[in-house]
């Protein structure tokens, strides 16, 4: 579980996060949603520790991140997996080597065990063996996301962060990636936090949804509640597309 308490974050006097408190539960797909520029990426990067918050607590199972030294943060990060918006696969390594990399850095397994683990992770994300020795530039965007997920789960993380996992993907691949993240969250009992503004994703896998607007938490709930909220900012965001307007009308 990750508990965020009263965090504030500003850049050059510009307050980006204001008094945000939220609990991200283990074994659930927690989603941070909001319009572009609302502060959701800053919130996620602050939770991971890429940005230092001005005030507030970020507790990873009662370990407060802002109190930690860099060396302690590095140790904590070995329990963290992250799926980046652009996949962030290492260009100089092939698919298999990308997944083996964190194992080489932090596990004491033999080479054979590392390869076995990497094969398991790559097969778990439904990648075919023929693509294991290709360079990241030789595979599709959807496959790159799967490799990134495989790399993120290679060290059996307790926390998984996904920054806009569907950006640049077609609707079918997006759905597959969403389902994969959801399944992995349950299967390995991970605390998963997804940063998204894709309403299809939200409606598909959003179990604990946090809506951020102008750096503040405006609403928290699940995908079933989201249709019945009387909040203008949230409604503007959720029902921006005609499809969801129709869904709301049908539900009413």
């Amino acid at each position: 579980m990750i508990e965020v308490k009263d965090i504030y974050k500003s850049f050059d006097g510009n307050q980006v996060l204001k008094n945000v408190s939220v609990i991200f539960e283990t074994g659930k797909t927690n989603m941070i949603i909001g319009a572009s520029g609302s502060g959701k990426t800053v919130l996620m990067k602050s939770i991971i520790g890429l940005y230092r918050v001005d005030t507030g607590r970020i507790e990873y199972d009662n370990r407060n991140l802002p109190d930690m030294r860099m060396s302690e943060i590095r140790i904590l990060r070995r329990e963290v997996g992250m799926l980046f918006q652009g996949s962030a696969l290492f260009d100089s390594l092939n698919v298999l080597e990308n997944v083996i990399y964190p194992l080489e850095m932090f596990s004491s397994n033999s080479k054979e065990e590392m390869i076995e683990r990497a094969y398991f992770c790559l097969k778990r994300v439904n990648l075919e063996e023929k693509s294991f020795h290709l360079a990241p530039s030789e595979i599709s965007g959807g496959m790159q996301k799967r490799v990134a997920i495989a790399r993120a789960i290679a060290l059996q993380p307790k926390y998984l962060f996904c920054d806009e996992p569907n950006s640049g993907l077609d609707p079918i691949t997006s759905l597959i990636i969403d389902q994969l993240i959801h399944e992995i969250t349950y299967e390995f009992d991970i605390t998963t936090i997804i940063n998204s503004h894709d309403m299809n994703s939200v409606m598909e896998i959003g179990e604990n949804i946090i809506f951020i607007e102008k750096g503040e938490k405006v609403w928290q709930g699940n995908k079933d509640d989201i249709f019945h909220v009387e909040n203008k900012d949230l409604n503007d965001f959720v029902f921006a597309s005609e499809l969801y307007k129709k869904v709301k009308t049908t539900n009413q």
């Binding site: 890429l50 590095r74 990060r77 980046f84 962030a88 696969l89 260009d91 964190p102 850095m105 932090f106």
Partner: protein, 246 residues
């Protein structure tokens, strides 16, 4: 103020770079690749430039020292000392600042803007140490060899002038390049090149590591790395020369 804060950031980055690697075998796996990429792949340009500059320097020296009072071997002597003292260390390093500096800055800068460095950090890897240390060590190790190679090839270039033209005889040239040879000049040149190799690789890595934005910004980082690396080379050239030769 930018210079002060950038200098501070540079030293803080170097503090992160010069620590023991998380996994030493990862360093030793990366190290030979960098030797090959930064060192061996620079050999062609070192050869081409050195041979031509050696030849041109011989012709120009001969034309500018047409005086019956000067001994005939003086052309070879001047060519040798210019190559040893300045060309093969300083000028060659300025050229390599362009080739190697832009290579390092653009590689690390691209990794920064495509979030590969963030990915390393999230994994708990000291990205500065993992990415930059093998490059600096490899380039510093390779540089003396490149400098000595440049000296030798430059002298061969001068010799070719004697062979293929009638500007100078090969006998005069060979006497000149052996006359009053001071081995300390080679040592001085190597010491300079070690400092310059460190400047080129670390300054380029600094600009690449702190690149942000898009492809244009990586280009800017690359340009800054070459320009500022070259300025620092000239400054330290003056400093080291004053310390070692004055």
């Amino acid at each position: 103020m930018n210079i002060v804060s950038d200098t501070g950031k540079y030293f803080l980055l170097m503090k992160r770079v010069f620590v023991l690697p998380d996994r030493s075998y990862m360093f030793f796996r990366q190290f030979p690749k960098e030797l090959e990429k930064l060192g061996l792949q620079s050999l062609p340009i070192v050869i081409i430039i050195s041979v031509f500059i050696g030849a041109i320097m011989t012709i120009q020296t001969k034309l500018n020292t047409e005086n019956p009072l000067l001994p005939t071997y003086s052309t070879g002597l001047v060519t040798r000392d210019t190559l040893l003292l300045e060309f093969s260390s300083t000028i060659m390093c300025l050229i390599l600042a362009g080739k190697v500096g832009s290579n390092i800055a653009s590689e690390i800068g691209t990794m920064r803007i495509t979030e590969q460095i963030d990915a390393l950090e999230i994994m708990g890897v000291n990205s500065a140490n993992y990415l930059i240390l093998p490059k600096i060590v490899a380039f510093v190790v390779m540089m003396p060899f490149l400098v000595i190679f440049s000296m030798a090839v430059g002298l061969i270039g001068g010799y070719c002038v004697g062979v293929f033209t009638d500007v100078i005889t090969t006998a005069d040239y060979l006497i000149g390049i052996q006359y009053a040879f001071i081995p300390f000049y080679v040592f001085y040149s190597i010491i300079k090149s070690l400092a310059f190799a460190f400047i080129i690789s670390s300054v380029a890595a600094f600009y690449g590591y702190y690149a942000y934005g898009g492809a244009l910004d990586v280009g800017k980082a690359s340009t800054n790395a070459v320009v500022n690396g070259s300025i620092l080379i000239l400054f330290f050239n003056l400093l080291i020369t004053n310390l070692m030769l004055n």
